[in-house]
């Protein structure tokens, strides 16, 4: 072994982690190479110093009060009064909903005639107005679904599919999968491989994205600036690593949320 190889083995040698033959080889080299022997001595000293210093620093540790309280609350849930018991509450709500559903489907005019219940329940989140007026829909929340579902494009043996769009805090999370590419962390740092998103023709800022190798596909989670619901969106990726090569796209999927 050359000096460079020996130096990479010094840590394992100093901690007694080498096999007997490897150990003998390192010792033979150290007995003839003064520079490596000196490096071994310095490394042993530095290892001891780091070990002692880190342990001393860790032994002085305290936990911030807020964190200690947060952990304790997770493990010691406070005793609940009956109406705070979510299982019981959920059961009651379900039972009430079932009773209401029966009444609503069989005798809607009776529900509407009760002032409080009428005000609460007769303003639906979904409105269907038959002819002659237009059909209107009012959804309670912005839709998280991708339209069309699982929007896909394929080029050069690489398939890009958009699976999910959702609002996460102040960001929009878009999950997409790519089949036929290699998870190459170095080449994925190249901006040409980054997803770009446009909403109504304007580019949306990318905050971060991650990639996770799963069986048969790589799952990407990209986080962009917040979007309004119901926009036409286009996700584009310029180039991707496939095997040893970079494959030119672009892969482009247009969908709406």
């Amino acid at each position: 072994m050359q000096c460079d190889d020996i130096r990479l083995e010094l840590q394992a040698y100093l901690e007694g982690e080498l096999a007997p033959d490897e150990r003998a080889e390192v010792e033979a080299h150290l007995s003839t190479c003064q520079a490596c022997a000196e490096e071994a001595r310095a490394m042993r000293g530095m290892g001891d110093l780091i070990r002692r210093g880190l342990n001393e620093w860790v032994d002085q540790g305290t936990v911030p009060a807020e964190l200690a309280a947060r952990i304790e609350v997770h493990i010691r849930p406070r005793k609940k009064v009956w109406w705070q018991n979510w299982q019981l509450a959920a059961g009651l709500v379900t039972a009430a909903a079932a009773v209401f559903l029966v009444l609503f489907t069989t005798q809607p005019e009776r529900i509407a005639s009760i002032p409080l219940l009428g005000a609460l329940f007769m303003t639906p989140d979904f409105t269907y107005t038959a002819a002659p007026g237009p059909v209107t829909e009012k959804l309670p929340k912005p839709s998280n679904e991708v339209h069309p579902q699982n929007a896909t494009t394929e080029k050069e043996g690489i398939t890009l599919t958009v699976n999910l769009i959702e609002q996460v805090g102040h960001l929009t999370h878009i999950q997409y999968t790519i089949k036929g590419m290699t998870l190459d962390k170095e080449r994925l740092k190249n901006p040409v491989t980054h997803p770009t998103l446009t909403a109504a023709g304007k580019k949306v800022s990318l905050s971060s994205f991650n990639a996770d190798q799963r069986s048969g596909a790589i799952v990407f989670n990209a986080y962009f600036d917040a979007l309004q619901s119901g926009q036409s969106l286009t996700l584009t990726i310029g180039s991707l690593p496939a095997g040893e090569q970079m494959v030119q796209g672009p892969w482009q999927v247009t969908f709406s949320n």
Binding site: G47, G61, T62, L67, A68, I71, K185
Partner: protein
């Protein structure tokens, strides 16, 4: 004494050390807090499986914490951050005027290492993990662990020797 009480009686004397262990592996206090919370909940759920009695508790919970932290690290190393100009700025803090305790000085030098090097150094010297176990925990080749450790120790030697010679100059 309830199960919760028994758990907390063993956990509380350890939590400061556990918190700093997570901080050392993950490099920041926010992630360390999340990791400690997750590891503590995992440990509590598995508390009835603790073998070796109360004496084994510190080692047992520390192992759960280190596993939790390395899972986070593996995940984080797969995240490709969007480059921003500030990412290239030095994080070197201003040199404090007061005497820094030895442990803090070593931590300060380790903290300034790039994450790839810091994680290997901390798992090796704070958690006494074998090189092969570090390779498995971080999902990197053994040769990469060896070269990172070697490079990290050289950087730390330079940094700590500079501090020392600076102090000597200051004392003159």
């Amino acid at each position: 004494m309830t199960l919760e009480d028994r758990f907390f009686a063993l956990y509380k004397p350890e939590q400061g050390r556990l918190y700093r262990t997570a901080w050392a592996i993950l490099g920041n206090e926010a992630d360390a807090g999340d990791a400690l919370q997750e590891a503590t909940i995992r440990a509590y759920r598995a508390f009835d499986q603790l073998k070796g009695g109360e004496a084994a508790f510190p080692y047992w919970i520390r192992r759960i914490l280190v596993n939790t932290c390395t899972q986070i690290l593996r995940k984080r190393m797969r995240v490709i951050p969007v480059e921003r100009p500030e990412d290239h700025m030095s994080e070197e803090p201003a040199t404090p005027d007061v005497d820094v305790p030895f442990g803090s000085e070593v931590w300060e030098a380790v903290r300034l290492l790039d994450e790839r090097y810091r994680a290997v150094v901390v798992l090796r010297f704070l958690n006494d993990m074998q090189l092969e176990d570090i390779a498995t925990a971080l999902d990197i080749p053994l040769g990469t662990v060896k070269s990172r450790l070697h490079t990290a120790l050289k950087m730390l030697r330079t940094k700590l020797n500079n501090n020392e010679s600076g102090e000597r100059r200051g004392a003159l």
